[in-house]
């Protein structure tokens, strides 16, 4: 039970509001409420929402609609202004105490989970169709308090009629269904770290939202348009929450973008997305990731299945397969760890690792945990055609068997500058479009990573100069220190790019070099076009200035 019940005297609350600068305009549904002065009465009930189930195919199952409790959400009693605040428990139950004689009060269930103290969180579901920041709320009709306690049970309905949504259907359940999936996601993490402080999270949804379902900068957008509704797609929401988790508590060097299991991805993208898929199965307890499409179609991923298309260290499918096998209690693998060890690596090791986030950095630290048998990890990796991982820089890892094209994508981290004397210039730093399977897919080998240490403290200039490949070339560079982006060179100059930054003597850095043509979202690259040149190489030099 996590009840927080407050009866705020109307006058006190008004003065608090004015201190906070909030508006004191009358509340729309009960502009004429009169606050009583009589004995205390109990107003209680449950807040529930309708959830439409999903079929195994991922499609919506309108016949499988159930009512579920809205857990841990904020509930208010409103009489012109807020006069009492509480939070629902895990059964969706709430209770507030109000004075008898009150006329025209109503109960409001906000699409918000908020808790202060330890642990704490603040998750709000807002209307994506508004430029204003407006929270969804479910309101009762106004009622009077005479001399008896009152029960007010509020249900947020899905808005469907049979197997469809009418135009302008009121889909009140959606914000609460989204909150429910986020609640479950938070519970998984709280089960292993109960005192967590969650950064505030905004979720944007509306019944006409076609902006996509994605995470960026402490905000999740959830599709609502009937072309593709996502409010009941628990795995989808947990997947996006997984990106929030990585952002908030770990580190994520992924550049995001489009992806599907089977893509041969940049190592950062593969890990980030595979983690999200695996987490969605952990959160829901359902290893089949489901995503409804339109009214009658669906998409699904069997996270438990180890049968990945194009398996390897560049595959989100292989990442999710390995991570979920660490977690689950099924008898198909060696591990049944739960979330503890995964969370420890994600929060204790990944944020301070010097390499970029990938399956290599995760496995490197995971194998070092006292509770883990490294040989067993290698066995699990081998089942996904991944060589034994001995460090976070993928030293000794071989090409996956499914990599397309002839461009060598190894070593993943070019360490010539660590051993050569002089360390620069480096020739034949080659970016490839071979694994760009479609628009917005950040394929393996488009970015190349160079490790080096700074010979002295001071300002340095890096230059990436075209040596072969595309006749119109746009090289770019990004510089990382312990995973943090500390410099970039991203001009549109033809065949040359410069990056100037300060380096600290003895510190190790990673320089990312890429051909922007291969990852340009505005002009999607077509590796199969006639005359396509899928390999562009550069010479990278470094100068003290």
């Amino acid at each position: 039970m996590n009840y927080l019940t407050k009866w705020l005297a109307a006058g006190l609350f008004t003065s608090l509001l004015s201190c906070g600068g909030s508006s004191s305009e009358p509340v729309t549904p009960t502009a004429s409420c009169t606050l009583g002065t009589g004995t205390s009465l109990n107003v209680s009930g449950t807040i529930t929402f309708e959830r439409i189930a999903l079929l195994d195919s991922g499609a919506l199952d309108f016949a499988g609609k159930t009512s579920q409790p809205a857990k841990a959400i904020q509930v208010e009693a409103i009489c012109n202004s807020v006069i009492a605040v509480t939070t629902t428990d895990v059964n969706g139950s709430y209770s507030v105490v109000l004075p008898s004689g009150t006329q025209g009060v109503f109960i409001r269930a906000k699409a918000q989970m908020v808790k202060s103290g330890v642990p704490s969180w603040n998750v709000e579901i807002k209307d994506a169709s508004q430029a204003f920041s407006l929270l969804f709320a479910l309101d009762s009709s106004p009622f009077n308090l005479d001399d008896l306690d009152v029960t007010k049970n509020l249900l947020a309905t899905a808005g469907n009629v049979g197997s469809t949504y009418p135009v302008d259907a009121l889909r009140a359940a959606a914000p609460f269904a989204i909150l429910d999936s986020i609640y479950k996601s938070m519970q998984l993490v709280l089960s292993v770290e109960p005192d967590l402080i969650f950064p505030a999270l905004d979720v944007k949804w509306s019944a006409d939202n076609e902006d996509g379902t994605f995470y960026t900068n402490n905000q999740i957008s959830v599709l609502g348009s009937t072309v593709d509704t996502d409010e009941f797609d628990e795995h989808v929401i947990a997947h996006e929450w997984g990106h929030y988790y990585q952002d908030a508590f770990s580190r994520d060097n992924s550049v995001g973008g489009s992806h599907t299991p089977g893509d041969i991805l940049d190592i950062r993208v593969a890990f980030s997305e595979g983690f999200g898929n695996a987490l969605s199965a952990m959160v829901t307890g359902d290893p089949v990731y489901k995503d409804s499409q339109g009214i009658a179609s669906g998409f699904f991923i069997d996270v438990e299945s180890n049968n990945c298309i194009n398996e390897g260290w560049y595959s989100e499918c292989s990442v999710q397969s390995v991570l979920y096998d660490f977690f689950d209690v099924a008898n198909d693998d060696i591990f049944s760890l739960g979330f503890d060890e995964i969370h420890e690596v994600m929060t204790s090791n990944i944020p301070t690792s010097s390499s970029l986030t990938s399956i290599f950095s995760f496995i490197n630290y995971f194998k070092n945990l006292a509770s883990i048998d490294a040989t067993d990890v290698d066995t699990l990796l081998a089942a996904q055609s991944i060589d034994a991982i001995s460090d976070e820089y993928a030293t000794g890892v071989s090409d996956g068997i499914y990599i397309i094209g002839s461009t060598d994508v190894l070593p993943i981290y070019d360490d010539r500058a660590l051993v050569d004397d002089p360390p620069f210039p480096l020739t034949d730093v080659c970016s490839t479009g071979d694994n760009i399977s479609a628009a917005e897919v950040y394929g393996l080998g488009a970015s190349r990573f160079i490790r080096f240490t700074a010979p002295s403290s001071g300002n340095f200039s890096f230059t990436s100069s075209w040596s072969s490949g595309l006749s119109t070339s746009d090289p770019d560079m990004y510089l990382y220190s312990n995973g943090d982006l500390i410099g970039l060179g991203v001009t549109a100059n033809n065949k040359s790019e410069t990056l100037v930054t300060y380096l600290a003597a003895g510190s190790e850095y990673i320089l990312e070099v890429l051909e922007y043509t291969y990852v340009d979202l505005d002009l999607p690259y077509n590796r199969s076009a006639s005359g396509a040149i899928n390999k562009t190489c550069f010479t990278v030099s470094r100068t003290s200035i």
Binding site: T28, F132, P199, V227, G256, S297
Partner: protein
């Protein structure tokens, strides 16, 4: 996690809970972290705004993941448009090929509408779908969502409560 390990090794003491707050370390080079999809890709030229009576000819170019064997496309248009071409298309697919369909429609009435596409591929014996939506404007360009701060869009069934900063939805009240 270190703090938990240390606590676990100490004898139990009355101790105020210590919150665990992490320093944000993500790279600043953020994109959109999107949900996974079925491996169906669409490329098209966004249609110009139409006037009532105008004809729309829209070529849709699809590619599918290498392992797909079949592509099905179902076209639906909003009520501001009259579809004048087939609504169902089907292809046997091979890797790296592009599959094009042409949608023909006539603009019937003003408004912001869309062409929606239900697409399905057959991969390793399983059907996997992806939905697409193509916005189409007939008449004066209208924004389906508020793009100007200070303008609130009202919608049927929803009550805007500016004072409380909420979009209010009526509950169904039950007695059980």
């Amino acid at each position: 996690m270190l703090s938990f390990l240390l606590l676990g090794m100490s004898k139990p003491v009355e101790k105020e809970a210590q919150p665990t707050q992490y320093t944000k370390k993500s790279a600043e080079r953020k994109g959109h972290y999107t949900k996974p999809h079925a491996g169906i890709y669409l490329n098209y030229q966004r249609p110009e705004n139409l006037q009532i009576g105008d004809s729309l000819r829209l070529q849709l170019n699809f590619k599918v993941r290498d392992q797909a064997e079949q592509l099905k496309i179902k076209v639906n248009v909003g009520d501001a448009l009259l579809l004048q071409s087939d609504s169902l298309f089907e292809f046997e697919t091979v890797a790296n090929e592009q599959y094009s369909v042409t949608v023909l429609a006539t603009a019937l009435r003003e408004g912001a509408t869309r062409i929606s596409l239900d697409t399905t591929i057959l991969v390793m014996g399983r059907y996997q779908s992806r939905s697409f939506s193509i916005p189409v404007i007939v008449g004066e360009a209208t924004q389906p969502k508020s793009s100007v701060t200070g303008v609130i869009i009202s919608k049927p069934g929803y009550t805007l409560d500016k004072a409380q900063g909420v979009v209010s939805m009526p509950a169904v009240e039950t007695s059980d």
